[in-house]
Amino acid sequence: MSRLWSPQIESMEREQLEEMQMELLKKQLKYVYQRAPFYQKLYKKSGVKLDDIKNIDDLEKLPLTKTVDLQAEMKETRDEYSGRLCVPESELLAVYGPNQHPMPENPLITGITDSDRNTIIQHLARKLIMAGVYSGDTIQSLCWAWEPFNRLYMAAILLTSPSVSEILGIIPITLEIIPLEAPRTFSTARLLKPSLIIADTGHLRQLAAVCQQNKISPEEIGYKTIILKEQRILSEKEIKEISDKWKAKVHNMLEVQDNMFYAMDCDKHKGLHIWEDAFIAEIVDETTGEKVREGEAGKLAITNLFAKGTPMIRYLTNVTAKIDRSPCDCGRTHSRLKPQ
């Protein structure tokens, strides 16, 4: 069995895991219904009572949360959180915009609380261990500066949780993902010899070009592991190409930042693990909103079970995937997302 960060959760029996999910779901539904005007309206309009949600399959009775509806709500009520904010504003550590450029009209914003940050840090710790990180390792982590991702590494002296780097004992080099900044990624890599990099395909391409300019092969940089953080699931072919070029193990991290969702494949590379103690993932038909049959491809909808700031229930994403709920060879029981 592989190394696990939280073995009792990551390898929990399926039945037990679903029980836990149901308990958290009930709490979370009650939480958003009492606090978020958007969900009050949405659920009242649909005529569903929360008491009707007795098991996970009942979740389907609730309408999907769609970006267009949230934007309409924002326009109508002039509430910048689109009626999703569940805590007093003063409890938010920070507010983030969408991870898109250029920025869409009426952009949705996400508020993050101290407790949300703690949970995502735990999730990231699980993923880094999954990618083979050991205490004492130096890693490069790239993201846009507008994302909350970078803050997970930053020592926050007043917050209740240490950063992910303090928890794991690793040394992080946080960098910009903009391809223009590849020379800096290159020079810090040459100096500090990180064993792992989290970046996207665009930046990696640029980094390879910088290597060429400096007349060294990508392999010589010495990454053992590359995590590709993308807003889509990469195909096996794309992963293999990068892996061959850099002579490194490649993982794919899918992000849905609006709902604080990040999923990644383990070293068996048979799909991206969803942390099901924190999320419920469904695959739905985009047009009808109904769940597709088990194992079929469709759009990913995510229910966040832990967030306190601006949680979303059945949030319809743009990600096309299918889902595999069988236990993985790595010992984790949490289900996996697979490309179409």
């Binding site: 938010l92 920025m103 500066a145 950063s163 910009e176 020079s187 810090t188 500090l192």
Partner: protein, 444 residues
């Protein structure tokens, strides 16, 4: 007691008491680096000085050697240690790593322990609070992931209880994002923004979207502008687009921790917190102390940093510094950074820095963005060569403008001037958020 200052006891401490405190820190820091940093140990051994020889501030100034970035790079090459022997703690105690902005070539490394981040946060809390930021205030905060100042700004925002909108790298490429959010969210403060976005790109982007910048930007009451110092003319221009803003200029001076941020309305220059860093202003060529208020190079000493402390580090920042208490009773000295020392250009025995030209360019709407470089084309120069980009949208007659600028510069600077028009994208950018205001053609 007044709540105007974040840490009144330290900030208004009588100057002699402050000096005493400083010297206590100096002594303990010299002991610390001698014992823990291989670079300093070697340096002091070679200079034949021991920690116990430092009995007064004068001893410190006379006996402790000064070093600069090149020395550290040489040490880095020689030993293969990425930290050039500066690091005083086991590597796993460094909880954040970053690189310098690299204005001067190859980036150098910075790193911090938890203690250092705590100090940085205290510095930033003083700056934001004294400048007028208060709990609950809605602020935009720009971040650069690799930059040393970010943990301090982020933590200070948490600590002050600001409502922070996390923002992108304030690169001209993303200024559209800033503009759109500015229209929707109307913040009261900006805890970090780069100077050129603040002074020109953001107002221009708003204009392009069909808005009047001064209407949209009137919500902003406080703004910390970073990266480059603002010239007096640039300030006047900023005021037109940001009618209610209190400008808090925070240009320059990397991880030296001697980092003047303009927090007082009464004087345009910023305070350096002298319980955190010791600033010395020296003649860049002779290393003699210059008179208060004179231009000189900042030589900085970190008084309390435990990760990578710099002791008498020549920052290559050119600035002026005043030591008398300011109108608000803050006893820590204040000053502003004008340029990099390497950016000095000599024309017929007179020394110029990009700042001198910038002030003139910004008086003209066609060159208000101050996209220019001073060019050092030979070691002996008989005229000042300036590459400038004008704004084609508002320039009717480039030839006439060139003649006007030439005449004006020659009158103000007293030397012959050669102006070359270049395109905006031809001005080199060593890092995405700064242009190279100085180009040296004499170095291969």
């Amino acid at each position: 007691m007044s709540h105007e200052l974040w840490n009144p006891r330290i900030e208004t401490m009588p100057r002699d008491e402050l000096k005493e405190l400083q010297f206590k820190f100096i002594k303990s820091q010299i002991n610390y680096v001698y014992a823990n940093s291989s670079w300093h140990h070697k340096l002091y051994k070679e200079a034949n000085v021991k920690p116990e020889d430092i009995k007064t501030l004068d001893d410190f100034k006379q006996k402790i050697p000064i070093y600069n970035k090149d020395h550290l790079r040489e040490e880095q090459r020689r030993t293969g240690d990425p930290f050039s022997g500066l690091c005083c703690v086991p590597r796993e105690e460094l909880i954040n790593l970053w690189t310098s902005s690299g204005t001067t070539g190859m980036p150098t490394l910075g790193a911090a322990t938890r203690n250092d981040i705590y100090l940085g946060t205290e510095i930033m809390c003083r700056n934001l609070w004294d400048g007028g930021f208060r709990p609950g205030m809605k602020v935009f905060s720009a971040a650069i992931n690799w930059h040393w100042v970010m943990p301090s700004v982020v933590n200070a925002c948490y600590r002050l209880g600001l409502k922070t909108f996390g923002f992108d790298f304030p690169h001209p490429l993303f200024v559209d994002r800033w503009a759109k959010w500015m229209i929707i969210h109307q913040p009261e403060g900006i805890s970090a923004i780069t100077t050129e976005v603040f002074a020109s790109f953001l107002p221009l982007a708003l204009k392009q979207l069909g808005y009047e910048p001064s209407e949209i930007l009137s919500c902003v009451k406080f703004a910390v502008s970073m990266g480059e110092p603002l010239s007096p003319v640039a300030r006047e221009n900023v005021k037109k687009n940001w009618p209610n803003v209190r400008i808090m200029d925070a240009g320059g001076a990397g991880e030296s921790w001697c980092w003047p941020v303009e927090i007082c309305r009464e004087h345009v220059t910023g305070h350096i917190w002298e319980d955190m860093g010791l600033p010395e202003i020296l003649d860049p060529d002779t290393h003699e102390t210059v008179a208060p208020g004179e231009r000189g190079e900042l030589v900085a000493t970190n008084l309390r940093v435990k990760g990578l402390p710099y002791i008498r580090f020549s920052t290559e920042d050119f600035l002026e510094l005043y030591t008398e208490p300011c109108e608000r009773g803050i006893t820590h000295s204040y000053g502003r950074i004008l340029a990099r020392t390497g950016w000095r250009i000599k024309v017929k025995d007179r020394t110029f820095i990009p700042f001198d030209v910038e002030v003139i360019l910004q008086k003209h709407p066609e060159t208000i963005k101050a996209m220019f470089s001073l060019v050092k084309y030979s070691s002996t120069m008989d005229r000042l060569r300036v590459n400038v980009a004008y704004d084609p949208a508002v320039t009717k007659d480039p030839d006439k403008l060139k003649a006007e600028l030439k005449k004006e510069m020659e009158r103000e600077l007293g030397v012959n001037v050669e102006i070359n028009w270049v395109k905006e994208e031809e001005i080199p950018r060593p890092v995405p958020h700064k242009i190279a205001k100085f180009v040296d053609l004499t170095k291969g």
